[in-house]
């Protein structure tokens, strides 16, 4: 009670300093980035404010578009908030049972070897519900790309702890923070699959900053290039923000991601 709340946010400038942003500029200029994602159909998605998943969607769709795979790629999705991409992106999709995407993608790739086949799964889907599927797909050297969006919570079911929640992380089912004595330790899926000889490429990126996003896009591109070249199993983990599930303000999501997730799951090319 020592300070009086202000009615106006402190970041708000005097109105005379702002530039109009409601229409394209009328001076000679060139559009260097479009708001809608590559291959986007539909106007909007329903994911929460500050969610990192749509950023991962965007770079994934850019990679597919830039590699000219839009008409010959099939995505296999599990169950999670990210599954909303099937409504947003104009490529072919299959949705399968929780955690089973690598097994389904195996079948798709064996029937249609000329198509780029990838899975899009969350950490709840891949690490908690279907760890066996991704490990066996990697061990069989299936020529698919598995992508795990890791935010450490089951977002779409309300924010429960997953097998990849980091130590100390508060979730709906670990309100005092994940405690190794009670909940055990997080499963580093990327590190596990990198130990299997059938794996051609493993990388872990994040979407916490513009630089990390650009780097993660390069990882995704490399994975798809190697899949198309027939190199073997490829895997990219993407650390994303879930401020709703983490109980943090949206603007603090990238900071929390860096301090906790990136400390537990270091970014970089692993194999």
């Amino acid at each position: 009670m020592t300070t009086t709340p202000t009615t106006t946010p402190p970041t708000t400038p005097p109105p005379t300093t702002t530039v109009p942003t409601d229409a394209p500029p009328d001076r000679p200029s060139r559009k260097v980035a479009a708001s809608s994602a590559a291959l986007q159909v539909g106007e909007d998605h329903h994911l929460c404010p500050g969610c990192g998943h749509p950023v991962a969607w965007r770079i994934l769709l850019e990679v597919i578009s830039e590699l000219d795979l839009a008409r010959r790629s099939i995505g296999v999705v599990g169950h999670g908030c990210y599954t909303n991409i099937v409504r947003l992106a104009d490529i072919d999709w299959l949705q399968c049972l929780h955690g089973r995407a690598p097994a389904v993608a195996t079948g798709v790739k064996r029937v249609r070897p000329e198509v780029a086949v990838f899975t899009l799964q969350g950490d709840g889907d891949m690490a908690s519900e279907g760890l066996a599927e991704v490990l066996h797909a990697a061990a069989r050297a299936e020529r698919i790309t598995c992508i795990m969006l890791n935010n450490g919570v089951f977002g779409d079911t309300g924010g429960q702890m997953t097998a990849a929640s980091v130590v100390g992380q508060r979730t709906k089912t670990s309100l005092e923070g994940r405690d190794p004595a009670t909940h055990g330790y997080p499963v580093p899926v990327a590190d596990l699959v990198s130990r299997l000889p059938g794996t051609a490429y493993v990388a872990r990126g994040g979407v916490g900053s513009a630089g990390a996003i650009a780097q993660t896009k390069r990882y995704l591109k490399r994975a798809f290039e190697l899949q198309v070249a027939g190199a073997g199993f490829t895997f990219v983990e993407v650390l994303t923000m879930c401020p709703t599930g983490w109980f943090v303000p949206t603007a603090e999501g990238p900071g929390y991601l860096g301090a906790t997730f990136e400390a537990t799951f270091p970014l970089g090319e692993i194999r």
Partner: protein, 98 residues
């Protein structure tokens, strides 16, 4: 760091903000290298505050990269604006013959 109308600024580009698509997460504010995005006090049709642009945009596309709600179009000017950017040629700039 604070932006004022008297600040001498080079503006190399601008953004178009789809304010009604914005969910007010504020990720673009710290992501902007020249710190020319600030949040509005006004709220959009969904009840969220949204970003406003100040002079000095470099068209670097960092806001576009970090935005989860696909709000930003980014434009790079053929010629930078010295001084206040506003929309169109600045008052102290000659008309671009091109």
């Amino acid at each position: 760091m604070s932006s004022t109308v008297t600040r001498s600024t080079v503006t190399r580009g601008t953004v178009v903000i789809d304010r009604d698509r914005c969910k007010g997460c504020e990720l673009c504010i710290p992501a902007c290298p020249p710190s020319v995005l600030v949040m509005s006090a006004e709220r959009n049709s969904r009840g969220y505050r949204f970003p406003l642009l100040l002079d000095g945009c470099t068209a670097c596309q960092a806001c576009h990269a970090v935005c989860p709600d696909f709000v930003f179009d980014v434009y790079r000017f053929d010629e930078p604006i010295i001084g206040s950017a506003g929309r169109g040629p600045a008052a102290d700039q000659p008309e671009d013959p091109a």
